[in-house]
């Protein structure tokens, strides 16, 4: 019986069977990813008002790269090496680090190249500034990019370092460690709205747990979410709490790949605990660390919910981030063309990091 049933489909050749099996995916893929992607680039070349085009499909105008100019550029823009000393110094240090690290064999070529390119961009991009009588066409865009980079720059090291320490401490097959791992991972499965709901009230100066504890200890509560000095910190704390889990798990997997013999040999030389972590775990985790960092950069560059729900980008735009700006430009200001240009900008940055991730991921195979 079963055999007869099987025989029936025998007629299909391999390419035919492949066509049948691939068709459903390729159809949705083409319709809902490939086509929208090119459509997005197409929209970015138009003056395209959401409401106007909804009423009259002809109400869009082809304007070439005008949206990109209006977003990225300005009048009388000049470039100088000292326009933004902090960012540019970071960039120079990055290039130096990449060069030295590669020369001394501490960094692989792809990693060195990635750090070098990031460093060069940090020297180049913040160097632009409006000269005399000049101004940016969009005053909010670059500060928004700056906030996003600041967020990434705080959240990524925060998550990575905490996760690395926890993973090193919690590696092992005992019950207590398994429970602790579960606790640290648990918040990862919550949704962004639940996480921001909890932390919004945690940070509240009147009802918040943090304020209540500070008051009980005799301090005066901080107005976290509406104080320009603390709003970004609040969002970063929330993010570290939320997204530590994946990084920790990736590090645990990396640590388990390190041969136990190395640790045993080191233990004979009296290298245990922190010493073993510094001289054995860290050097052997180089590739995992790079992967986790790149992964986190990609993930956190897309930050939206924390800023949208906790601070609404404020106070004074200090927590406005790129995706939220795209969302607002498209759906509050109805400027789909300009929003799409920003989305393409975002895609280029993310694509570059994805490429690095891909190269690093394949490097040692």
């Amino acid at each position: 019986m079963l055999r007869d049933k099987w025989r029936k489909g025998q007629g299909l050749s391999q390419p035919q069977a492949a066509a049948v099996l691939l068709f459903p995916f390729l159809a949705v893929y083409a319709a809902f990813l490939i086509y929208p992607f090119f459509m997005g680039v197409w929209i970015s070349l138009h003056d395209w008002n959401l409401l106007a085009v909804a009423f009259n499909p002809g109400a869009k105008e082809f304007i070439g790269t005008e949206n990109y100019v209006r977003t990225l550029w300005g009048r009388n823009i000049e470039w100088g090496l000292f326009a933004s000393p902090v960012m540019q110094t970071v960039g120079v240090l990055g290039i130096g680090l990449a060069f030295l690290g590669y020369r001394q064999g501490r960094l692989t070529r792809a990693t060195a190249l990635a750090i070098g390119i990031a460093g060069a961009l940090f020297v180049l991009l913040p160097g632009f500034y409006p000269g005399e009588d000049g101004r940016w066409y969009d005053r909010r865009f670059w500060p928004t990019v700056g906030n996003t980079i600041l967020f990434v720059g705080l959240a990524v090291p925060g998550v990575t370092i905490t996760a690395l320490i926890l993973a090193a401490a919690l590696d092992g097959e005992t019950r207590a460690k398994a429970i602790l791992r579960t606790i640290f991972f648990l918040s990862q499965v919550l949704s962004v709205t639940v996480v921001t709901l909890i932390w919004q009230i945690m940070f509240s100066p009147r009802q918040g747990l943090i304020a209540n504890v500070t008051e009980a200890l005799g301090g005066s509560p901080i107005v976290w979410l509406t104080d320009q000095q603390f709003a970004m910190a609040a969002i970063v704390i929330t993010t570290v709490w939320w997204s530590l889990g994946i990084a920790m798990i990736l590090f645990l997997a990396g640590i388990q790949d390190i041969s136990k013999d190395i640790y045993e040999a080191a233990a004979i030389d009296d290298a245990r605990g922190i010493k073993a972590f510094w001289y054995i775990t860290l050097p052997n985790l180089k590739r995992t660390i790079t992967l986790v960092v790149v992964l986190q950069i990609i993930l956190h560059f897309q930050v939206f919910g924390q800023s949208h729900l906790m601070t609404q980008g404020g106070p004074n735009d200090s927590t406005q981030v790129l995706v939220r700006y795209i969302y607002q430009t498209a759906f509050r200001d109805s400027e789909l063309g300009k929003a799409s240009a920003m989305a393409v900008f975002l895609f280029v940055i993310m694509g570059a990091f994805s490429l690095v991730q891909f190269v690093v991921g394949r490097e040692e195979d």
């Binding site: 099987w6 025989r7 029936k8 489909g9 025998q10 007629g11 299909l12 390419p15 069977a17 492949a18 066509a19 049948v20 099996l21 691939l22 995916f25 949705v28 809902f32 990813l33 992607f37 459509m39 997005g40 929209i43 909804a54 926890l166 401490a169 919690l170 602790l180 606790i183 991972f185 648990l186 499965v189 919550l190 962004v192 709205t193 639940v194 921001t196 709901l197 932390w199 919004q200 009230i201 945690m202 009802q207 747990l209 209540n212 709490w241 889990g245 798990i249 990736l250 897309q302 919910g305 729900l309 995706v323 969302y327 799409s340 989305a343 393409v344 975002l346 895609f347 993310m350 994805s354």
Partner: protein, 277 residues
């Protein structure tokens, strides 16, 4: 066990407890009366112990308000998306892993490129597309875009590649067709990988925020994640803090239960989803 081991566990218990505090606090507040919370949130042990205790908030959630409907919407979207992603990913994954056909490399590269396109780069054109089709405020509008993300295809492809070829070859000699091999032999073997992919997709669907925010504009079509966001901005005045926290607990229950029941799969799913895009 060394003495240092117990020191380590003790030393880590404190940060672990601190890590749990926000969650405990949410659960505890959801069991306290709104009138009390309006005055102070730190009645007993900074509010971490729910005294005075009440289940009123949960009763109110289910007797009126839109939370049950949002919950149902989320369940439909999450299950629909999970089934959809499983269907297109297992089939395409198998074809790419095992069958020989023209343009195979080109199709693989095309899929790989798709991994680099973030949701934020396509959500505006998707919005206009779905608006033209009149598809917004529907379940399929929330489900379809995720089915186009190639992560699942790569997960399944890697899994199928690891299965020894002998099984298929034996079946081929017996005269079994390719589709039958896929359906009767490979799919049953793929259950663990499908489970991993299912959990990854379900978690994503349940917690997704940006696309539902853009696509579902009518409150009747909100998912619970979106609905919760819509009531949290004015929690103190209209709904009462206890009730909003109860909604948060209800919204988190499915994913937390999923996590505690299938911890190994969840961890594997999130790791796979994380490293591959």
């Amino acid at each position: 066990m060394h003495r240092s081991y117990y020191w380590l566990i003790t030393a880590l218990s404190l940060p672990a407890f601190v890590w749990l505090i926000p969650t405990i606090w949410m659960v505890s507040l959801s069991f306290q009366p709104n009138e009390v919370l309006a005055r102070t949130t730190s009645t007993t042990a900074f509010g971490l112990i729910p005294l005075p205790f009440t289940t009123e908030n949960y009763a109110a959630l289910f007797s009126f308000g839109q939370t049950p409907m949002w919950f149902l919407n989320s369940a439909i979207v999450a299950l629909g998306m999970t089934l959809g992603v499983l269907a297109v990913s297992t089939t395409a994954g198998y074809a790419l892993a095992r069958l020989e056909f023209p343009f195979k490399r080109a199709i693989m590269v095309l899929c790989l490129v798709g991994l680099m396109v973030p949701e934020q780069a396509v959500f505006i054109p998707l919005y206009t597309m779905f608006a033209d089709l009149g598809w917004h405020n529907s379940y399929h509008a929330l489900i379809l875009p995720r089915m186009a993300v190639p992560i699942g295809v790569f997960l399944m492809m890697q899994f199928f590649r690891a299965i020894p070829r002998d099984i298929e070859e034996a079946a081929r000699i017996d005269g079994v067709g390719w589709l039958q091999i896929f359906w009767y032999i490979m799919l049953p073997l793929a259950r663990p990988a499908m489970m991993t992919l299912a959990i990854l997709t379900f978690l994503y669907a349940w917690n997704d925020y940006l696309w539902p925010l853009v696509s579902a504009r009518e409150p009747e079509r909100f998912t619970i994640t979106l609905g919760l966001a819509s009531i949290q901005s004015n929690f103190a005045q209209s709904e009462g803090l206890g009730r909003v926290m109860a909604s948060g607990v209800i919204a988190s229950l499915p994913v937390v239960i999923l996590f505690l029941m299938f911890q190994r799969y969840v961890v594997r799913a999130m790791t796979a989803g994380g490293t591959k895009g």
